[in-house]
């Protein structure tokens, strides 16, 4: 099982009832489930009707989800964006900056990283945002 973590801390999954479908099986209204090798450029159709996109990370330390998330946002995806997998509280700031709304964390990792740690993450302006007004 997983724990959803947003900027508000540990929260319930508002999309718990949605069906998760891979791009090739996608039906409008379902959540779009992507892996670390997803090509955001090839998903325009699915993205236009997906209320939620979940990106499962490729494993601890695999950073492709950061670029995939940033690209989805750049392409204009306005729905809910979620990263799923073994993530650290130390990566939270960067995930939010890349356009993610929340993460789905394995329970075992949520136990070792209690809610207070996530709520303490500072979201001050970063160098990139300051340089590029972005």
């Amino acid at each position: 099982m997983t724990q959803i973590v947003s900027k508000d801390g540990f929260v319930a999954d508002q999309f718990a009832d949605l069906e998760r479908l891979a791009p090739e099986d996608y039906r409008p209204g379902a959540a779009l489930a992507l892996g670390p090798t997803a090509d955001p450029g090839a998903l325009a159709e699915q993205l236009s009707s997906a209320p939620l996109v979940e990106i499962t990370v490729g494993g601890f330390g695999d950073g492709r989800e950061f670029s995939i998330g940033a690209l989805l946002r750049r392409q204009g995806y306005r729905g809910h964006l979620r990263a799923c997998g073994p993530l650290l509280v130390d990566q939270f700031r960067a995930l939010i900056r890349c356009g993610f709304d929340d993460i789905a964390l394995p329970d075992e990792m949520a136990e070792r990283q209690p809610e207070a740690q996530w709520r303490a993450v500072p979201f001050e302006t970063g160098y990139r945002a300051r340089l590029l007004n972005a």
């Binding site: 950073g63 670029s67 650290l88 700031r93 900056r97 970063g126 990139r128 590029l132």
Partner: protein
Amino acid sequence: MYSYTEFDRDFLRARVDEFRGQVARRLDGSLTEDEFKPLRLMNGLYLQLHAYMLRVAIPYGTLRSAQMRKLAEISERWDRGYGHFTTRQNIQFNWPRLTDVPDMLDALSEVGMHAIQTSGNCIRNVTADHFAGAAPGEAEDPRITAELVRQWSTDHPEFAYLPRKFKVAVTALEQDRAVIRFHDIGLRVKSRDGEIGYEVVIGGGLGRTPMIGKVVREWLPKRDLLAYLEAILRVYNLSGRRDNKYKARIKILVHETGLDELRERIEAEFATGARLLGDVNPDVIAQIEQSFVDPEFRDDPVAPFAPSPAFQAFLDTNLSAHKRADHAIVTVSTKPIGGTPGDVTADQMRVLADLAEIYGYDELRISHEQNVILPHVHRNDLAKVYEALRAAGLATANVGLVSDIIACPGLDYCALATARSIPVAQQISEMFADIDAQHDIGPLKIKISGCINACGHHHVGHIGILGLDRAGVENYQLTLGGDGTEDAAVGDRTGPGFAYDEVVPAVGRLIHAYLEAREDKHESFLHTYRRVSLAPFKAALYGERDAAAA
């Protein structure tokens, strides 16, 4: 010089607090060692053979005297009274305790320094020509670009977990002292019709598979720099190999994909990205440019002086031309005969800081050749600077000569090492203890790595030495003719390697063979090698060994 703004200071304080928290979470078990590892690496903390090692960033190798003094203080308070300057213009402390590291970072932050992104699979501390801003002929001080890249790459949200480490170097001259052709990205600042821009090189690297970088863009206007870098990094982050750490650098992506196809992908990504990305904040740019204006150079007329022979020898090797005729660039060798290349004691750091303050407009540089540089010294002050260096054991007149050796830490410190490198450097230097003989041999770059990772840049040494492990015994491979400059070349293997006690005499034979083969004193080792190639050197190396074995 760039002075930290309130923004930079707040950022640093937040990062030190964050790391303090990470250490606490590691100690209380919230973080496993596997999880802690990338976090400590991103804060410059390695686990070495005997202890932790803290690698402190010196962005583009530029330091103020107050910063050098702080490094001296840190080395005395939490380490063993010395620091080690590296081939990436950083400084390493070899003996910190994990629990002291947050305090060390606090002390560093007092002078606007840190250890962020000196390790880990992220964009590393950016390096630049160590004579930047002092050398004649630059289109613009390359540190303006380097500082911009530093800010952009620091804590970049997208690129902290790349397939592998990523290094950027900048120069502003045709004559390349920053080794840009052996970096993941090399930037050469140039001007065209009065506009500043870049030649962009990608996919260079040393390590297991040395590759010379390729030009991906002949001309990139300055305003497009960050958008173009983002395009390169994004393509790399998504397509770089993650299945094998030895194939994960961008050089392999360039090699396996082909430059043309990769360029197309980068350009496509750039075309969209640049359109959507805001212009770089002009206030930040103005503030950076302001930071690299010249100091107010003294213009006293240069008085003639009659140097002693020892001082003359120092002037011959350790002085370089400054963009002003009344000033000079002084390189301080960290390689006394028999010393450890790059090691500087706390007392020596203070002497260097004082000299910079009194005679050097408060500026110091660290070179990738592990030396310390006073970039602006009025010629009338050279004698006083020399005397002070001599008294501190820092006046070795060997810059660019056979004993100005680059050596990685090797088996003396490094957990990855397969052989010793420092003692090999020390013995070579002792073999040529006579400075006059060194001056006679002339320019010669020897570079030594203690394993295939090539931190000692052996591939680009005129003589490269790579220490390997052959069934539990150290074995040293020699390469000849490597060159890290604009004439980039990877050295050629000479043949079978040499045991630890054979390698120094083998280097001696190589140099002897050069002296025999050169046309005259003005033909350097490298030029001679290019003319005569391997044969006479092989004969000198193996002829003798085979004869001894027979």
